[in-house]
Amino acid sequence: MSGSIPFLLILIPSLPLAAAVITAVFGRSMLKENSHRPIIVALVGSFMASLLLLSQVHHRSASSEGVGWETTIDLWNWVRIDDALATPAAAQPVPEQGMAALPPALPFRIDVTLRADALTSIMLSMVTFVASLVAIYASGYMHGDRGYWRFFSYIGLFVFSMTMLVSVSNFVLLYVFWEAVGLCSYLLIGFWYEKPEAAAAGKKAFLVNRVGDFGFALALFFIWTTYGTLNFHDAEGIAGILGQTRLAQPEVYVGGGIATAICLLLMLGACGKSAQFPLHVWLPDAMEGPTPVSALIHAATMVTAGVYMVTRCTPLFMMSPTAQTVVALIGFTTACIGGVIAMTQTDLKRVLAYSTISQLGYMFLGLGVATLGGITAGMFHLFTHAFFKALLFLGAGSVMHSMGGVIDMRRFGGLRRLMPTTHWTFLFGCLALAGVIPFAGFWSKDAILAAVYERGHEEALFYWLYWGGVVIAFLTATYTFRAFFLTFYGDERVPHEAGHHAHESPPAMTFPLIVLAVCSLLVGAYFEFTHGFAEFIAHTPSLAYEAMHAHAGAHDSASHVLIGAIGTVVALAGIGVAAFLYLGDPTEVMALRRLLSPLYWLSHGKLFFDQIYDVLFVWPLRMLAQISYWIDRNVIDALVDLVGRIPLVLAAGLRSLQSGMVQFYALAMVWGIVVLIATLLIWPALGASWK
């Protein structure tokens, strides 16, 4: 079985790619209403392969020691430029390792190399699992859409890009697939491109991501000039950035200002992709896309790419405590913003979008703690969040489907009898999101808060962040159950758009809901009690970093139980408040709204980020564009026109010669010959006289 890892690693991305190509080529003419079949088959196949890979990696990792376990497969060399960079100091191998001294100049090379390690295999399994369920769901949800084949082709392309993103072993390729998932996101947000809001949302997502990607690209330039390589792993005698050689000798990482710059720029990239403050504005608008897309890309998988990337680069972040604190603060700020805004949104999907932003903030808070416990907790939250957030979005999609496309919670209510399966599965998702024991969200959120609390022993800042996190957990429980009660409880109201549609969704849609609901209930507890997740993921080379283990304090189980208890109480309190406010009489809500009217106004206006960005960036850029347009029209075009007029003026005189009379042309010809001959006769005479 040892030889199958390379095969599996290649198989996992190629299946969705092949299916995407098949669907793109044959979808329109031949597959039509069957376009989902190749994609579902490929995704399920990928998922099976990912599970096999996971079990093998698990098997290998368990017996590994030291700096974790990884394996890489070189596929081909994409770019190689010899002597591209004078060897920087940080690229020199450590003498004790017995590696030969590097030549004075290093080649720039991009190796297409796939890697398998704990982090990759977990991400692959999670992505392909959620993607398979979402594809099955979408076969019901998108049924009858004109772009049915196009949708599934994009989904296949997305899964290919995402699986490649988590399995490549090179920063440039990471960037390439980072952009590729961004492209798929753009295509899918703007899937209904005839709708102006959808087109605008796609554009906004793309442009906001561009800001983050710019930072990411700068970070890559910095890494290249600092370390002389962009590979994660050791290759051709050059120590990779996250390779075994370097990890065994943490002092060869560059610290100081350069490390901080690299990490902050990487974080800017992560902010764009993972919708963190201040680049979070695109995610709520991305809800214009079809709901399965929101579930797959904008909740479960693509937006976690930033978390993945920061986790992958942990050794770099370890060199810059400043950057780590910034990561934690950004995560905390985003969690706050998301939680506050989600409180008052009336659009069910938008509540979930802001909750996604908030939960991603939690993950970054965990990563910013910078202990092994914090980072594994962040990844754990990523993992459990994928299940219950996908579940919630798919549930919202199910509601939307039966309500005839209406998603405004003010227009429907009391749907629990109409849609029992959706109701129950949605409840599971809400409980997981709110962090109620024993649902998945409880364990992961608890792990993050515990890690933050433990770090608080060393730095008072994290102590405050912990209490802030608890407050956000309360907000989370409240807004989640606000949405739940508004949708499924109260008087039964159905918008007229629903027509005769108002019934439970077809089995293709409820089946994924049930599977995900079971996962939301079980995955957290399973991994918590087996301690499997943290231990397994700690075998990733990046996380098996020696300095991190020094950081990890003694596990304080007494305080851990206390933290869990606080978390549960807060979650139940949040649910209670939501029940008190939104079950039954709405007078309390009105009273509270009046009492907190400025806060309500801020929250309902989404803290006016869009307006602020409009004033700060969009309008000045528009004005600049207008000025440029004016200059282009009136200065540059005028110059070009002027040049164009010169021959016209010159030609005006010659035009009168073109009379169209045959005899005139003949006369002109004869005169021409006469002049030529005369010149020939006279010229030598003139020349002779000059000599």
Partner: protein, 147 residues
């Protein structure tokens, strides 16, 4: 007659032929006549070629003339076909009908009509008749010959 004088005579004849052709080409508007004028220029050139060929004792001139005749025959066929087509299209052999190649802003050439109406009133100077006054030819008085 010496060779040079013979050459000169021939060349003079060729130049005359060429000149007559050239003037005809410029001044006539009937397409067939224009074509004939062009042929005449060709013959002028041919005569001088023959003369030079003889003068230099070189058959190249004569050969070229035979060649010119052949080409001229082909060319005549084509030219007459073109002229025929143009006649069918325009209803006239007048070359001035075909001015479409002029620039857009150039005025078309228009024939100035010869004024006719005033003829009757015009008093032409008359010589004092001498001898027996001839019978006035009525036909000649009422009808003006075509220009």
């Amino acid at each position: 007659m010496d060779e040079v004088a013979l050459l000169q005579n021939y060349l003079v004849v060729g130049a005359f032929l060429f000149g007559i052709g050239l003037v005809g080409f410029f001044s006539r508007r009937n397409m067939i006549v224009i074509f004939l004028s062009a042929e005449m220029m060709l013959q002028g050139v041919s005569v001088s070629l023959v003369a030079w060929g003889r003068f230099h004792n070189n058959w190249g001139g004569q050969m070229l003339v035979i060649f010119i005749l052949t080409v001229a025959a082909c060319e005549a066929a084509i030219a007459l076909a073109v002229v025929l087509t143009l006649f069918h299209k325009g209803g006239s052999l007048d070359i001035a009908l075909w001015q479409q190649l002029r620039e857009d802003n150039q005025p078309a050439y228009v024939d100035h009509e010869v004024p006719e109406g005033d003829d009757a009133e015009k008093r032409w100077p008359r010589l004092t008749p001498s001898g027996i006054e001839p019978e006035p030819d009525l036909e000649d008085l009422t009808h003006r010959a075509h220009v």
